[in-house]
């Protein structure tokens, strides 16, 4: 992320220090993670101590301080999905991508996370890729879905 992109986001919020979390969310969604230099630039632009930005960036799970893959897979491990076999889906996805929850593969293709209930239990087991939910998953079906992502 370069200075220009950061400045644009900061300008969108008129450089208001109170918009810090919004600004970080915007950077997160454009860049998929928050690089150290970006945080430094935000600190300077808003005149907010870097310690406060670090505090927030490490507090919320929505932020990542490590690079993320092009596609983010969220596998629901909530109760409803769990009883319908979510752990088998997770095992299969782990096997296919070679990564565990919290990790990103070397090609930067996928990042994997588990979540606890996506709010559509009737569709369980559910996996979500880049925000799009895929319901009634089974190990083989999950692999089919993953094939659609480059």
């Amino acid at each position: 992320m370069d200075k220009e992109q950061i400045d644009k986001i900061v300008a969108k919020y008129h450089g208001e220090p109170s918009a810090l979390i919004q600004i970080l969310l915007d950077i997160q969604s454009e860049n998929r993670w928050l690089p150290g230099e970006a945080l430094q630039m935000v600190a300077e632009a808003l005149d907010v101590p870097l310690t406060r930005i670090q505090h927030i960036a490490t507090f919320y799970k929505a932020f990542s301080l490590v690079p993320k893959g092009r596609h983010e897979i969220h596998i629901c491990m909530g109760t409803a999905c769990h009883v319908r076999g979510a752990s088998r889906v997770l095992d299969t996805v782990e096997g296919h991508t070679g990564i565990k929850p919290g990790e990103t593969d070397l090609d930067m293709k996928f990042s994997l996370e588990t979540v606890n209930c996506l709010g559509c239990c009737a569709l369980g087991p559910v996996i979500e890729i880049d925000g799009k939910p895929h319901g009634r998953m089974a190990p083989a079906k999950a692999l089919e879905v993953l094939k659609n992502y480059e």
């Binding site: 101590p49 870097l50 310690t51 406060r52 670090q54 505090h55 490490t58 507090f59």
Partner: protein, 194 residues
Amino acid sequence: MSEILFTIDAKEVKATEGMTVLEAAKSIGVFIPTLCHHEKLEPYGACRICMVEVETGGRTRIVASCLYPVEPNLVVRTRSQTIDKIRRVLIEEMLAHAPDSVQLDELAKEYGADRDRFEKEPSFCIHCGLCVRYCAEIKKKNALGFIDRGARREISFIPKLAAEECWNCKECFELCPTSALQAAYVLAQALSPV
């Protein structure tokens, strides 16, 4: 400023509006233990060791004296079975994190705390926030802050600032009730680019 009359441990106190119970107690020589309080810093209320009983209108409540503002006719008790028990458990919990703290050791003796009640999990920091707040409020350098949350919360120096500012200051070192701060600083030194 209007004068407020009330009692602490059955002693009459004259305080002014806006004072905390802790400040009022100090003014008449009643000691209340504290860990996260510092006269020059904004009240924080993190450690809860300063808990006291306050009675108003026949109801008793347990409050943090470093935060609680004085009110007329308040009846404050700084020691009681309940208070001593609360302090004892807090000390036992904190000792699991910082077993070598001299301050905690003294408190443990006073309140009969069992050093080994909880399994040791030395993170050394008890999250009093003195170092972080001192650097932010007094020195205005913000060289260190808290990161992460819950059980994984810890202090962290900004390596660049630690290298530029901290060596000549180190004023926060003596505030730390444990050895966590110095350890974190040594680590930041090792990581700093300079």
